[in-house]
Amino acid sequence: MRMLTTMLAAAALTAGVATAASAADWGKGSDVRIATEGAYAPWNYTDSSGNLVGFEVDLYKDLCARLELKCTLQQQAWEGIIPALQAGKYDVIMAGMSITEKRKEVITFSRSYAATPAVFVVKSDGPLAGFSTDLDAVTMADVDDAEKATIAKVKEAFAGKTIGVQIATTHENFLNEYIAGDVTVKTYDTQENLDLDLQAGRVDAALAAMSYWKPLLEKDAGKGLKIVGPGFTGGPFGDGVGAGIRQEDQQLADMFSEAIGEAIADGTLSKLAIEHFGFDASAKE
């Protein structure tokens, strides 16, 4: 046991060193390494020839051009995306990551560049296909009585069922906090694997962002699926999607915020959003 403690302590020291990335001075011409997951279409995904494409891939190019930064894009599995940022493997995360209080405890964010509610998707020939609530939208930041009743109704409708969700997402936190209990929550490495299991009938429903589902439902992979129930925003779902950056690089975060503001003002952002999502999921002023 003693040796084990020593070993763990040594490992902890190593981890401490790895995470202590020092703040750099950011400005025109700086090399900025950007990370994305590459498995969350249309935000970021890998095309048939293996290239990273999607909304955020177009957006980072636009933002880096505005800031005159020398940006490179790299791929990182979703699960380790924040620890690897902390360890200095790259400088910016642009991977459909919502700005939440919990994440803000460890990293900082640029202003949001997109916002999209979370919705449930089920099989359109399944028992949950007819599920609906009086409210179309639930704001989780401050829950009123009608919204409380809606959440209770969701819980009741999914009792005894299995809901799938991607690991380490705001959606997983929401399910664990508000819905779990009579509902089984299954977690997946990637959203794509979750979609396969939804189609195979291993999960009864899946929770993810509207901006993810909408384009999927128009494709073959989304055949036979439909959106049910209300859209959830705020609270555990955060304040939109932004670029995740180390806290000591607040300067870089401010630069990105400014560039995003410009892209909103001149209409670039909403043009990119409509092009990729089929609706305007871009953040507003």
Binding site: L4, L8, A11, A12, A15, G16, T19, E79, I82, P83, Q86, R103, E105, V106, G164, I167, A168, E172, N173, K186, T187, Y188, D189, N193, L196, D197, Q199, A200, G201, R202
Partner: protein
């Protein structure tokens, strides 16, 4: 900041909740795999060529493809076919844990059969002939002479396989099974701390320590020559007996 070791007791308990799955997956696939492997090793040594080819092909297939790929193909791959979903196998293949046990069993069968084959082939032919000369039938010969010695020879290699399988169960976390690894991964992503992964690793270390001790003990039990040497007793002097 990435934090380490806050609320340790809590995280240890949380990850211990995944222990039953880890042990169930390892024990059931090792047990099933062992019996299948004995059969496969016998096919591999069979005088009938097609049986030999089948065993060789099976071992080649499962030993040469990554276990993770096998798990994905069985879980996500098979689940995509409507024919599979409508078949009598679906209640079985629908569940992630059966898919994991199936993949782990098929995999360990391939490796174990090779280990057992090596053990069977290590038994000196002279002993087999001697057993035949004593009038032992095929079954008796196998049970009394070949198999006990083959197992003893195969044990160190098989101990390796047990350790590998215990670690391989962590791959089941990729198909939604809440074993120690998935719980640790969930906790890591929830707390942005790598502590849960260290704790999970400590659990695997402990399990494998016990597993290797167990194999050593069995090896000791099955090897009288080791046992005698260790207790300081010597075997009766064969030369004296002969000289009488």
């Amino acid at each position: 900041m990435v934090t380490l070791f806050d609320e340790p007791a809590n995280t240890w308990e949380l990850i211990a909740n995944g222990l039953p799955w880890t042990l169930t997956l390892a024990a059931s696939s090792l047990a099933l795999g062992f019996f299948l492997a004995v059969g496969l090793a016998l096919l591999r040594l069979s005088p009938v060529p097609p049986l030999r080819w089948f065993a060789y092909g099976y071992v080649y297939l499962f030993r040469s493809t990554p276990l993770l790929v096998q798990i994905f193909l069985i879980y996500y791959g098979l689940g995509q076919f409507e024919a599979v979903q409508k078949s009598f196998l679906w209640p079985f293949l629908r569940e992630a844990h059966w898919c994991a046990i199936l993949a782990l069993t098929l995999n360990t069968t391939a490796y174990t059969s090779e280990i057992i084959r090596g053990g069977l082939q290590s038994v000196p032919w002279g002993q087999v002939e001697a057993a035949k000369a004593c009038g032992m039938g095929l079954g008796l010969r196998f049970r009394r002479v070949i198999f006990p010695q083959a197992i003893r020879q195969a044990l160190p290699g098989y101990g390796n396989e047990i350790v590998l399988m215990i670690k391989s169960t962590s791959l089941a976390s990729t198909i939604t099974i809440l074993d120690m690894t998935l719980i640790a991964r969930k906790e890591t992503s929830a707390t942005f701390s790598i502590e849960p992964l260290f704790i999970a690793a400590a659990f695997y270390l402990a399990i494998n320590f016990l597993a290797t001790r167990l194999v050593m003990w069995v090896e000791f039990r099955l090897s009288p020559e080791l046992r005698e040497a260790k207790t300081g007793k010597t075997l009766p002097d064969q030369g004296v007996v002969g000289a009488r």
